[in-house]
């Protein structure tokens, strides 16, 4: 069984009187250890898809399994638990808490996982070391550069040892050189065995991943190899 399985997933929204069909029957498998990109223009439904995959939302119809667990009709609390245990998020705008230090930001998911104080600090330090920011541990996010902030966000995504990491336009707010560094970090993590899904509208980024899922008007229009293979990048 795949890590994530979507079968005929439909998602409808109501915005005022208007009903929007964001996803119109998506069937998709993501395997353990994969490195994939979801690409599509704005309004294509890729964000909705990521929210579903990231257990931030549930489908209107169809079924969805994450790590063998049926989440199609899961309660909000159950979803929160799944996000906490199995999923890590990296956002375009980093979404770090500005009043907390780097260490505290990385500790945050473990607080909700009920990890004890000393273990929390220990694991947060390890995660920060993995993104090579050990020297900025006591700084607040506002004292860091964009690239460093995104590294902190990645450390936070990693710290609960999730099954899968979702990155929503992770390079969107970074200059191209820093963006390349972040993508390099993702590639390294992928090589080390993490499952990573990047959501982007940038074909060049999608081209660096082994698998490219194209979405348009709520439907998958292409699912297969990227333009370049992982070994080429």
């Amino acid at each position: 069984m795949a890590l994530i399985e979507l079968r005929d997933v439909i998602k409808r929204y109501r915005v005022g009187e208007q009903e929007i069909l964001a996803l119109n029957g998506i069937t998709l498998d993501i395997e353990q250890g994969e490195y994939a990109a979801i690409i599509g223009p704005s309004g294509s439904g890729k964000s909705t898809l990521m929210h579903l995959l990231g257990c931030l939302d549930t489908p209107t119809s169809g079924t969805m399994h994450v790590d063998g667990i049926d989440v199609s009709r899961a309660s909000k609390n159950r979803l929160a638990e799944l996000r906490n245990q199995k999923i890590g998020f990296v956002f375009q705008s980093f979404n770090l808490l500005p009043k907390m230090t780097v260490l505290q930001n990385v500790e945050l998911p473990m607080i909700y996982a009920g990890v004890s104080g000393s273990e929390r600090t220990q694991r947060a330090r390890e995660a920060i070391e993995r993104v090579e920011l050990s020297n900025r541990m006591k700084n607040t996010p506002l004292q860091l550069s964009g690239g460093q902030m995104q590294r902190v966000a990645i450390a936070r995504a990693l710290v609960n040892r999730p099954k899968i990491i979702f990155a929503d336009e992770p390079t969107g707010n970074l200059d191209s050189k820093t963006g390349a560094n972040i993508l390099e970090l993702f590639r390294e993590l992928s090589v080390q065995g993490s499952t990573i899904v990047i959501v982007t509208h940038d074909a060049k980024i999608a081209a660096q991943t082994p698998r490219r899922i194209e979405i348009r008007d709520g439907l998958i229009t292409h699912d297969g190899a990227g333009l370049l293979t992982a070994s080429d990048s």
Binding site: N77, A80, R83, N95
Partner: protein, 463 residues
Amino acid sequence: MNLWLGFLVGLKEIWAHKFRSFLTMLGVILGVASLLSMFSLTAGIAKGMREYMGQIGGIERVSVIGQDVPPEQEGYFEISPGRTVADAEAIVRSAPLVSHVTPVSQLPSGTLQRGNQAFRAEVNGCWPDYVPINKHTIAAGRGLSELDLELGLRVCVVGRLVVQRLFPERPNGNPIGEMIKINDRPFKIVGVFDFYEREADKRKRELAQKNATPRQKANGPPGSRSKPPGSVMRSGGFSSFRGGSMFDRKNLTVVIPLTTMFYEFKSANVVGKEDQGPQYKLDQLTFQIADTERFDETLDQVRSVIQTTHRGISDFDFDTRLEWADAIEQSVRNTRMSGGIIAGISLLVGGIGITNIMLASITERIREIGVRRAVGAKGRDIFVQIVVESTVIGIIGGLLGLVASLGIMQILIAISPESNAPVVELGNVLISFGFAVIIGVISGIYPALSASRLDPIEALRYG
């Protein structure tokens, strides 16, 4: 998320917005301060009243008073001798629940004289038990004795103000053995009562004595150092007391043996030109209840004793302070309640202030809430975080309010009558503080609910 961590996060959030948090707390601070001041004020009033109550004998002092006989006994009520010494003797013999008893025969306006000093005062002929029943204490010399009573000696025990008026040259002296005249009969002073005053006055006087200049000390009469009532030393000091009349009256007490009273002053009663014969009826008959827990039981016992001595005629009743004490307690409770409600309302307004600021702070932090939800916070976790934050505001506001009330208390002490000076009681401190904490919790509930119901996706997109 555990509470301690939430508490720290809350503190941090408050520290990050110091001025805003302080303004928010101001409502709670003022609320707690006025609540505690209110409680302390009523506690002070209650204490003043209880002190007064104790000075006049407490609730354990009961008087036997005369009463109209019931209609069915009207035809033959003369068979009752009325209140006599026999009643008191019967109570001593047959009412073990009574600890002290004294018959009192009064000279309502006896002339007290020494040399060219004279004034009129109430003179009480009584038994030695008069002293404990009326909460008198002997400062110097002795009280009345059984021997005085048996021999009908012309001795008297007087209050401090009597000494002051008859011995103006040494108001603080103890003129034991000196002779004075009561209605022209010579009496020897065998004892002097304590100087009675409010506790607050006493403290103030003792403080003044500690700081007294050597000159004042030199002025003090010799032999008066054991208990020198300093306020009497101030010329006219006693009359300047606010509300001191009750104490004045007690300080003017003159007691002589009951038998002496009968021999000297009651053996003849001339109305017009005719002697009505000796007057053996008592003016007062008072006793003290040994155990106030058995109040009604004691009254029943005494009632049956006096019924016997009065030959079955119900021409007496009891005058107790019980109802009066209840009325005092009731009015104190009412004042406390209404004051508490007013102060409580101001605390409530403080609580609304907290709710308001928490709602604003949540709007500022929608994105933060989204992030927390994304990394796995449940609605419940967000709820707890917000409630803990508002509770922290309540706790800090409450503590500051307690500090502020200390200041308010100083003002109240300055403006309120001294006998009712506010008293801070631990229970009231805890209630006021507890109320602030509860307000903190409650005022966080609505903001916390709306924060915990935010949709994570919407929250992440916000701003």
